[in-house]
Point group: C2
Chain length 273, copies 2
């Protein structure tokens, strides 16, 4: 009894720590000194417990290259609950800056808060069979990194300036912000491979200039964007510079005079969970 | 039997997913519909399995504010193994750029690689009772974020330019790089609280100008640095601008002509694991 329980605890821990990583069954049988048949039985028990307790999925595939992996999944109810909590934090009127901006850095950089957004992106995009996650520095890096971690993918960060430590880079100019300021973004030629598929993640979208820039620079590298997610999308302007993107929340209004921020979860994106 | 096993799987998963987060025992007893005494027994089994299999520690505290948490810990042997693998990746001679720099961005941004460095930092600094993790944008953000995640702390990112969305900021000038270039770093006044304790994490240190700048800007905010960790420290120059810091690896030489990079794990930092 104890031996099985200890095996189950060890396997559950290692699978949970390494989402979407495939472990060959021989890995566990060697590590735990048990027959593959015992490991298979353990995995059945773990798998059914994960399903019953809404902890995500344990998927086993057989044959060469086969093995077991844990696929993270957040259900609709929990996702809504987490997004509502994030919106409550964002509504705090002390966040409204004099210029009408809302201070979000502490939330975007706090792994204890932003990991739930990453879980939603990972749940929505798990079946897209992407090769990499891409973001533009800086505030989108944490949520993009945590999404990449859950999908077991590398993260590629597009820089604003081309850095000496990036080797040769390709740069584009784009227009962003309310004032349509000209800006630059720059990607190392070593960072991506032609023909791969990318998930684009960012913290915030207003008109979509930055996201459009990311799509354009990836196109230059012949990288296909299979999904785009942003944590917060402003509802204005209504017309965005990109078509397909999934916002987790909508920022509807910031009333700097009366100190009221209207922001709410995007219920539509939760439907498919 | 199945009921206990399912409880154990659920608790193991939730603890693993939320390192250093305290769960009151009532949380699990409510979630799983079991008596607190059963949950206590489950935790004893989980705790001894974690210890026996080197999965980290399960710590239970009683009384008000009490509960159970999972403390990540990587042992010396595994830490050395992971650092050696990272060094092997870095030694790849195609990483040497024309200017003598080594391309590290793909490694620093890959959660599947850099999470092991974060585990080592978290294991080394878990007892420092810090309130926040601090880094300077950009390449140190992933390892700093993953360390913050393991320690259940917020991350604060010092920016190079003061951004309009950061509110009022404090900036300092510092000198960094081989050419002692004057540079600026900038921290939002909202980002930190006076009297708190910070762990500073960065990807790379040569002379230590940036790290010294981080220490100085934190001092301006009356934030105390309790530990500093860098993934790679160059052995030259021998004299650094900061005294107390822990490098996970030492970059000893980059021979651009013969395409040889000498880099090795810092064995001394592993001794206390």
């Amino acid at each position: 009894f104890m031996k099985r329980t200890q095996r189950i605890i060890t396997i559950t821990k290692l699978l949970s720590d390494n989402p979407n990583k495939i472990f060959p069954l021989t890995y566990f049988s060697t590590l735990l000194g048990s027959a593959k048949s015992s490991i298979s039985e353990d995995l059945k028990i773990i798998s059914s417990s994960f399903s019953e307790s809404n902890l995500g999925f344990i998927k086993t595939s057989y044959g060469s290259g086969g093995g077991v992996k844990y696929i993270p999944h957040i259900d609709k109810k929990e996702a809504l609950d987490k997004l509502q909590k994030t919106c409550e934090l964002l509504k705090d009127n002390s966040r409204i800056l004099g210029n009408g901006f809302v201070y979000t850095s502490d939330i975007m950089f706090d792994p204890r808060i932003i990991d739930s957004s990453a879980h939603i992106f990972a749940s929505l995009f798990n079946e897209h069979d992407a090769d990499l996650v891409v973001t533009l520095e800086t505030k989108g890096i944490p949520v993009a990194l945590l999404t990449a971690r859950l999908l077991s993918l590398p993260l590629v960060v597009i820089r604003r300036e081309s850095k000496i430590s990036e080797g040769s880079t390709l740069s584009i100019n784009y227009f962003s912000g309310t004032n349509q300021q000209a800006q630059k973004m720059s990607l190392s030629k070593r960072a991506v491979t032609a023909g791969t598929k990318a998930i684009v993640i960012d913290d915030f979208m207003r008109a979509g200039g930055s996201i459009r820039g990311i799509h354009e620079i990836l196109e230059e590298f012949n990288v296909k964007v299979v999904a785009t997610g942003v944590v917060i999308a402003s509802t204005s302007p209504e017309k965005k510079k990109v078509n397909d993107f999934i916002p987790l929340t909508y920022l509807k209004n910031v009333d700097a005079d009366n100190k009221i921020t209207e922001i709410e979860p995007n219920l539509k994106c939760l439907e498919s969970l």
